[in-house]
């Protein structure tokens, strides 16, 4: 596992634990939820979505940096 990928991997796993959004949706959307549950669920959905969207976008931005070079290099080798 190359060190240069430690940061993207950490960031990628970080995005994956955003799966907690599933739990947030299930709690916020419960038919028997009272107002307090809904309010807490509302904030949980906000946080979960931020985790998912932010996590994947940040990781993609990091990895975008790596993408260009190897192709250029491969082209040069041809």
């Amino acid at each position: 596992m190359p060190t240069l990928l430690h940061t993207p991997l950490m960031s990628g796993t970080n995005a994956i634990h955003g799966i907690v959004i599933v739990g947030a949706i299930l709690v916020a959307g419960r038919p028997d939820a009272d107002t307090a549950t809904k309010v807490i669920g509302f904030f949980a959905v906000i946080l979960g979505t931020a985790n998912v969207v932010g996590g994947f976008v940040v990781t993609d931005r990091m990895l975008e940096m790596f993408k260009r070079k190897p192709t250029e290099k491969a082209d040069a080798e041809k």
Binding site: P8, M10, V27, L47, F56, T59
Partner: protein
């Protein structure tokens, strides 16, 4: 959607996550891996939203829009140098979400005493406890990396005892809840104690160790997500959370290995405790040789082999592009230019590679620590750009140094060393650097960006 179809689609999600983690460990497929993971996440969210018996769609839509805007804008706007704290922030909100889910579920289930089975309440408590620690800890890590808080370890007498007391209180509250009175204020108390513990746990850890802490908290959030899975009986949560917990733990160990430190030492060593004596003794009676951009330009253009050692100082000065420009200029003069990258250069392992890639520094000029160390005896000039701890010879020579044992880029093997640094102040880890006092070392006191521009201008004028 029937229960079977739902479960099947969740299984698809889990498979994409496994693939994502696999792909993320190879440079070629890393980006694809991330996209596969994102696709799987989308499947999971759509499937969850289409489950029967859900209400309050408008509420969730509003929340998701708000969350998505925060996440996307934050992730887009952030500078590459600030990536580590951004990861900390997103990790924290994930932990916070897990804690809130368990709080909501408890609120929903708990009013009737004795209605909660022990396994259910244990899961709720774990998710609340770990999620809250991860949330608060990540926020402190964010504050330290963003320099809202001092990067130095914050220590006070009786700290370990105090921290033990706090976590003890949280666990006691948990036991009370499992044993009987399922009162909501008890869970709120537990969350409060866990939040305080998260803060207290990260405060004594130095800024340089934050990557390891974030990685660990990342694993924590995974476990918290997994615990919410047990609360809600959702396999997709249990499995995905476990995946993150396991890979996060492995990554934490790998990072510790790159710094040659045990995780226990990182967490409880309080980096700063031993440093005061050594630092003061070194500074006395030693002289530092200051140099000018013009002199450095002459040294570099008449050298055959030059190695750049970039550090976080280069990144904060946004000087990656200037470093590349100087490198290209020197190559036109027939100088062989290489970059020596320490595994923990920047603020996270691999962070420096991202920053240099952003500045279009060719891949084949980047050398890892071991390769460059072998090359250094044949090198004429090493230009240290805003790096400090990763070139500190005390790591090899001084057993009392807090970073003793950490592998370093051994720049003093080269014929001459130029250190570009804003001042003599110690680095992020707060440790003095004997390299600066060595005879072959000259110091160019300047911001990395300004220094590189001046050197480039001087090289052109030659």
């Amino acid at each position: 959607m029937s229960r079977n179809v739902t479960e099947l689609l969740f299984l698809v999600t889990i498979v994409t996550f496994v693939l994502a983690l696999r792909f993320l460990s190879s440079p070629k497929r890393a980006r694809l891996g991330n996209q596969v993971g994102a696709g799987g996440m989308l499947v999971a969210i759509v499937v969850t939203l289409s489950q029967k018996g859900l209400e309050a769609y408008w509420l969730m839509a509003v929340a998701m829009v708000i969350g998505a805007v925060i996440g996307a804008v934050g992730a887009r706007r952030v500078k590459m140098t600030a990536m580590p704290q951004m990861v900390a922030l997103f990790n924290g909100v994930g932990g916070g979400a897990a804690a809130l889910v368990s709080l909501a579920e408890f609120h929903n289930l708990a009013p009737l005493p004795g209605r909660l089975a022990a396994d259910e309440s244990v899961a709720i408590l774990l998710s609340a406890l770990i999620g809250s620690i991860s949330f608060a800890g990540s926020m402190i890590a964010f504050g330290k990396l963003q320099e809202l808080l001092s990067g130095r370890p914050i220590v006070y007498p009786g700290q370990k005892f105090g921290n033990g007391l706090i976590i003890g209180a949280a666990v006691t509250l948990g036991v009370v809840i499992i044993a009987g009175p399922q009162e909501q204020w008890l869970l709120i108390g537990l969350i409060a104690a866990a939040l305080v513990f998260g803060v207290a746990f990260v405060l004594p850890i130095g800024g340089a160790d934050m990557p390891v802490v974030i990685s660990l908290l990342n694993a924590f959030t995974g476990l918290a997500a997994s615990a919410t899975g047990f609360v809600l009986h959702q396999n997709v949560l249990i499995v995905s959370g476990m995946l993150v917990g396991a890979s996060g733990t492995l990554l934490t160990l790998l990072m510790g290995k790159a710094m040659n430190r045990s995780i226990a030492n990182v967490l409880f060593g309080a980096f700063g405790q031993v440093q005061t004596g050594t630092g003061a003794a070194l500074a006395e009676g030693r002289t530092v040789r200051a140099t000018t951009a013009e002199d450095v330009a002459i040294m570099l253009s008449y050298a055959r082999k030059v190695v750049f050692v970039p550090g976080y100082g280069l990144a904060v000065a946004q000087a990656q592009h200037d470093a590349r420009a100087l490198g290209e200029l020197l190559e036109e003069h027939g100088v062989d230019v290489k970059y020596g990258i320490h595994p923990v250069a920047g603020r996270m392992p691999g962070h420096m590679n991202v920053l240099l890639a952003e500045a279009n520094v060719p891949y084949d000029q980047l050398y890892e620590m071991d390769q460059i160390n072998a090359d250094l005896p044949q090198t004429d000039v090493v230009l240290v750009l805003g790096a400090n701890d990763v070139v500190n010879p005390a790591a090899k020579t001084d057993p009392t140094s807090p970073i003793y044992g950490m592998p370093i880029i051994e720049v003093s093997r080269a014929a001459a060393v130029v250190v570009v640094k804003r001042s003599m102040s110690p680095g992020f880890a707060g440790i003095d650097n004997p390299l600066f006092y060595e005879e072959k070392t000259s110091m160019l006191f300047a911001d990395a960006k300004a220094a590189l521009e001046q050197i480039s201008a001087a090289v052109k004028a030659l």
